[in-house]
Amino acid sequence: MTASKIGEDAVIAQAVAGDLAAFNQLVLTYQNLAYSVAYRTLQDDAAADDVVQESFIKAFRAISTFQGGSFKSWIIRIVANTCYDLLRSRQRRLTDSLDDLVENEDYASYLEDVTANPHAHAERMELSELIERSFASLPTDQRLVLTLCDVHGYSYEEIADMTDVPIGTVKSRINRARTRVRDFLLQHPELLPSAFRP
């Protein structure tokens, strides 16, 4: 067990005891992950902001129910459920948010690689836009598991724990999500690497 892990366990223990400062330490540790998951799921920065803030508030109020294990999985589970609640209440369509995403300069800065040449940069931006569009075409549950698996690199077991679904369901959703993204990308072969060409 690493020192950071020991330290995190102590912070978690303090947070469970009701220490707000300790909990805020955990917030700082996982807020990027939480925001990324929320944003990729909702495809809306404003909605993601609200979801993340609300998720951390819920987490602090329910911190006494944390019974150990992966705190990260516990937080992401709260974020995922909050995303579902928001989608159900708002009934928003993902394609609408994609336009906002493209026009959002703040988001574009995340993808910008200042070290690349302009042509490659433009191609990369177009490919990123294409990938984001493929993300928007996915159902919410597939989008969530794909984000956790391929964007953040979590295992099937961790994803099953975060989303509170069986591992078989996680595998199935990941496969269907990847297949749909692949089929979507194949509609624009000019932007795809040579591996996509038969």
Partner: protein, 465 residues
């Protein structure tokens, strides 16, 4: 674009290839996949495209939080206090945290957040189903509360107002004092009528206010006489109402009748000596309706053959509170049985006019078929009243309940009473009320089912959103 799989390895699905990419397959599956990739170009291409897709997805950056999401004391719902020092943990100072400390309680914020959560809860789902559910709930509550409210109001009204026409079923002749219970008493003489009049005057004044709905009357005079009727001692007569509005007086009369009966019984003893048969006065000319008799509250004139044997004395007074000298109505009985024979045996009054009037009455009623009397061979009560110095005898069937239908009144000479009294308009209202009462539970049940259905549909719309 769907990729057709015509490989020799149909068991190699995209899901298996995806799991292979994630190193989530068994050794046997791994060997199968590797062998299939080497032998089948389609499977190889499928694996390559999936692998590249995963690679592209993994190139997506992990987004950075645009701001700090650390919680304030208000957000956490805690009073501001010094954060505890954790050994080995450096607490980052959050600039967004408020510098000033507040000791205000978190209760208002909790209520605000609760209200916000409640608002979000109701905003979710389809507004159509939500509004439909709310409407059905409101109508259901109205159907539940309104009848109870009106019932309580009517009960209070009945309790506060004098009973001038209660339900005849509540005061049936079966409950009325029988002949054996009531001492027979002759007609009270005029001299003894004053105390009676005083007692009657002391009767609830509302009795006079209670309209006696005898139905449309073509004769205006009869209507006027009808209105003035409550002032007469008829209230003491245990008459049987045949119309809804007449029921209240029945109850009052029935309840009061024992007392009033006792009074005349005590004082009219001498009168009893004069008349062996209380019904000996039998509607003759003395008591004819020519005096302006207005049959009170559905009393049907009965033929002599159906008149009951009067054994209970009743106060007999005219409208002015005075008894005519020729009152031949010695006593009036509330006995439901045997009265007809007694009346039949009763000697006619000495006043030939009364007898003639009574004979005419017989004919009239026999022709028209009085509901009460014609259908009842033995009317129980003979109510006698005098108006304008004339006495009239009518018989009321005590064995039958009050008939809400038309009450036929004997058409007596110079009578101010119409020949036939149409059923009061309130009967139609009673019928409608009864219909509503019968349908009310079904309406409530239907609305409850509709509320449940709309609620389920709304909940589904919230969950399925």
């Amino acid at each position: 674009m769907r990729i057709m799989t015509t490989s020799r390895y149909p068991e190699i699905t995209d899901e298996l290839l995806s799991a292979y990419i994630d190193n989530a397959v068994s050794e046997s599956e791994r060997g199968l996949i590797e062998r299939a990739v080497n032998e089948d170009s389609t499977i190889s291409w499928r694996l390559a495209t999936l692998r590249e897709t995963v690679h592209l997805l993994r190139t997506l950056p992990v987004l950075q939080a645009p701001r700090s999401f650390v919680l304030t004391s208000e957000q956490a719902g805690q009073p501001v206090r010094e954060p505890a020092l954790i050994p080995g943990v450096v607490v980052a100072k959050d600039r967004t945290m408020p510098e000033t400390r507040s000791s205000s309680p978190s209760q208002p914020r909790r209520w605000t957040e609760l209200a916000e959560h409640w608002r979000r809860f109701w905003q979710g789902g389809s507004p159509i189903w939500r509004n439909a559910m709310a409407t059905s709930i409101a109508i259901l509550l109205l159907l539940v509360v309104a009848p109870a409210y009106f019932r309580s109001g009517m009960q209070l009204q009945e309790m506060s107002a004098p009973k001038i026409g209660a339900d005849p079923n509540a005061v049936s002749f079966a409950e009325a004092p029988s002949v054996a219970q009531v001492e027979p008493a002759p007609v009270i003489l005029q001299s003894e009528a004053q105390p009676m009049q005083e007692a009657l005057d002391a009767a609830p004044a509302t009795l006079s206010e209670a309209p006696i709905a005898l139905g449309p009357v073509s004769d205006a005079t009869a209507a006027q006489a009808r209105v003035e009727l409550p002032a007469v001692a008829m209230e003491s007569l245990p008459v049987q109402a045949t119309a809804p509005s007449m029921r209240e007086p029945d109850a009052t009369a029935a309840r009061q009748s024992p007392e009033l009966l006792e009074m005349p019984a005590a004082r009219s003893a001498p009168l009893a000596d004069r008349y062996e048969d209380p019904l000996s006065f039998a509607p003759s000319g003395e008591e004819s309706a020519s005096s302006g008799y207005d049959a009170p509250m559905g009393i049907a004139a009965a033929p002599p053959s159906s008149a009951p044997a009067p054994s209970a004395p009743l106060a007999l007074e005219n409208r002015d509170g005075q008894l005519p000298e020729t009152v031949s109505a010695a006593a009036v009985s509330v006995e439901p049985e045997g009265a007809a024979a007694a009346l039949e045996d009763a000697a006619p009054a000495t006043d030939p006019s009364i007898a003639a009037a009574f004979n005419e009455e017989q004919g009239a009623t026999s022709e028209e078929g009085a509901i009460v009397t014609a259908s009842s061979p033995e009317p129980a009560v003979i109510a006698t009243t005098t108006y304008d110095g004339n006495a009239t005898v009518v018989a009321v069937d005590a064995s039958q309940p009050a008939q809400p239908d038309a009450v036929e009144l004997a058409e007596l000479p110079d009578s101010h009473v119409s020949k036939r009294v149409e059923p009061p308009a309130s009967v139609a209202g009673v019928t409608t009320s009864l219909l509503l009462v019968q349908l009310l539970p079904w309406l409530q049940l239907g609305l409850a089912a509709a509320t449940l259905a709309f609620g389920l549909l709304w909940w589904r719309s919230r969950r399925g959103a």
